[in-house]
Symmetry: C2
Subunit: 378 residues, 2 copies
């Protein structure tokens, strides 16, 4: 282990009580693994929307400014009062960031499980990945086949497990088809492939013709463009054909979740034999799992009284589904890592570039089709 | 049975394909009960918000006009295109109205069960109550103690079962306290009494100081006025004290459902030990069971990702809860008919008065504290 540096560069995000956010680097002492831990050299870690929630949180990023601290770039931004209220639980705490990543095990504790991983390529879950090195219990790493490209292993958890969780939820809650928004995302492309393999009808909602083409080229059967004038009619058509009664919405704000429920209701009413003033008795469920639009959700309640709109989060889902389901989903990720669960990155950046103002504004725009991968060691 | 008239006056509501609603009376032949049926002289039947949904539906009641048909009053109104779409399943069908009522059994079929009810005062469920007489299977009537005032028996089902269903839902879904909106309604007053008896903490949201006083006089502990400037702070205070994580909202439109979820989240975050960017992991559920405000529901999603907003309807709840629960709830209605489940009516009207334009506009305003009871036989 003599080739390891003494220090480890770690990105942290801090909300100061006076209403300012700071994101910067700390040089911390290199950790020494405990018996059941491994020390991983982080080779690739993606910037997911869920990371941005912690990274910039409720700050007003239009006020973001570049700075320097200990010779390394830093970012600051103002936090308006609603953001301060939402983040009141984290004021004054410098929090490390980065949900997942991949790398190689460079040191290990004394336990046989830890020692067995030395030199292996692994996928990592557990936060603090925007760093040069990460020390973790062996349960938080997943061994990948020898020769796996770190870029392929970087996003083994969030998107692959979430997309599978959608299909599992469909089965657990008795639905038979799915509607998905922001469907051209990496997660959306995975879902297209899973549903095609598993024979699950999927209605993809996207926001441009280029995205329609992208998903059609992947083999998607139903792709609806929400920018089209006849969007609602097309959505009703696709939902009628698939009988989808379950939706997953990454956007959150605006009218889309309600439009999906309305389209499901129109399709369900067509299947009814008798009129009811309360609408159909078909259960219609939409889950909001993201917040690409932070504005209010607006529901024009034209979908009867048998409906539910709920938040969705991977960790509670996995807890509810239980360890056997979680293990099955993880195994599928490894088995289909370079096919179903292949992620596409439009930009590779270094750890310090991630705090350059231009780059940060670009990835914080969360444009579909743009995905950033941090490569801490180039 | 020679004292029965030959015909039965029945109110019906009709949506015409050209975009007009008509509500009028039909003189139908007096029904003859089949073996398992009873013929009931309807003595009292309430106008519930759920009746108004069928009665006037998607019509624009600002265009309502008085008319006459066969010497009896009728009402007409224009139906705008969204209303026509919502009611497409009922166009051209003259539908009888009236969910529930009470009366006396004046004739019965040959079966012993039916015969046993002759002369009895009964509560009725099953629609078509806005009529002089109603013929029903014995399972749809509930015998009331001799001497029950028909006004007391008129609302045995919708409000008494719905208010009990809220408390049952609380227990079934693992919550321990309830938030209720439009809480000064007849249903809300029943809920105050049920929760007081059962020791369930209840946060009542009302819209005036008079309603605050009304509920406080009934013994309610937490009453919050949504017209107060510090409403949200008061709501958070009451929800923090009760740890309510379940809400029932009769209003539907506007920001209130989201404000309840936000207040629940603030209270839940106070109970958390560690900060999470995803908000609390406490499940927060609000059910919309009415539509006093037909406008859009607006959710400012400041309540994490562990939440659900759903429609609520009594019949599917009773089906899910099963026959034993349904029987228990019905028994409690009879046992506590003149105490817990006492309804208050501000206006008694005749069947024909119900289609007078002034009267119809008054009850269609759905003002809390105003409740209309139709007395078909004076």
């Amino acid at each position: 282990m003599t080739d390891l540096p003494d220090t480890n560069l770690v990105m942290v995000t801090l909300v100061k009580p006076e209403g300012e956010l700071e994101v910067y680097f700390e040089r911390r002492a290199m950790p020494t693994p405990k018996p059941h831990e491994v020390l991983v050299k982080v080779l690739a870690t993606p910037i997911n929307p869920s990371d941005l929630g912690l990274l910039f949180g409720g700050a007003d990023m239009s006020t973001a400014r570049a700075g320097e601290r200990d010779g390394l770039p830093m970012l600051s931004a103002d936090v308006p009062p609603p953001g301060m209220r939402a983040m009141s639980g984290r004021i004054g705490d410098a929090l490390p960031i980065g949900n997942e990543g991949s790398g190689v095990v460079v040191a290990a504790g004394d336990s046989p499980e830890a020692q067995a991983l030395v030199g292996k390529t692994v996928a990592l879950l557990g936060g603090e990945m925007y760093a040069e090195y990460r020390c973790l219990p062996v349960q938080m790493v997943m061994e990948l086949p020898d020769g796996t490209d770190p870029a392929d292993g970087a996003s083994c958890f969030v998107n692959p497990l979430t997309s599978q969780a959608f299909v599992e939820t469909m089965r657990m809650e008795g639905h038979s088809a799915i509607v998905h928004t922001a469907a051209a995302s990496n997660l959306g492309q995975m879902l297209v492939k899973i549903c095609a393999k598993d024979g699950v009808p999927l209605v993809n909602i996207v926001r441009s013709e280029a995205q329609v083409k992208l998903l059609k080229d992947l083999g998607a059967e139903y792709v609806v463009n929400s920018c089209d004038e006849d969007f609602q009619a097309k959505l009703i058509e696709a939902i009628t054909a698939t009988e989808a009664t379950l939706g997953f919405d990454a956007i959150g704000g605006g009218k889309l979740a309600g439009q999906i429920l309305s389209a499901m209701e129109v399709a369900a009413v067509k299947r009814m034999k008798n009129y009811s003033r309360y609408g159909s008795d078909t259960m219609k469920q939409v889950y909001i799992y993201g917040a690409l639009d932070l504005g209010p959700t607006i529901l024009n309640r034209s979908f009867g009284l048998t409906w539910s709109l709920s938040g969705f989060l991977l960790t509670p889902f996995l807890q509810k589904a239980g360890p056997e389901v979680a293990a099955r989903l993880r195994k599928r990720v490894v088995d289909e890592l370079t096919t179903t669960f292949k992620s596409h990155y439009s930009h590779n950046i270094s750890l310090t570039e991630a705090l350059s103002l231009d780059v940060a504004q670009a990835y914080n725009a969360k444009r579909t089709g743009e995905k950033y991968l941090i490569r801490p060691h180039g």
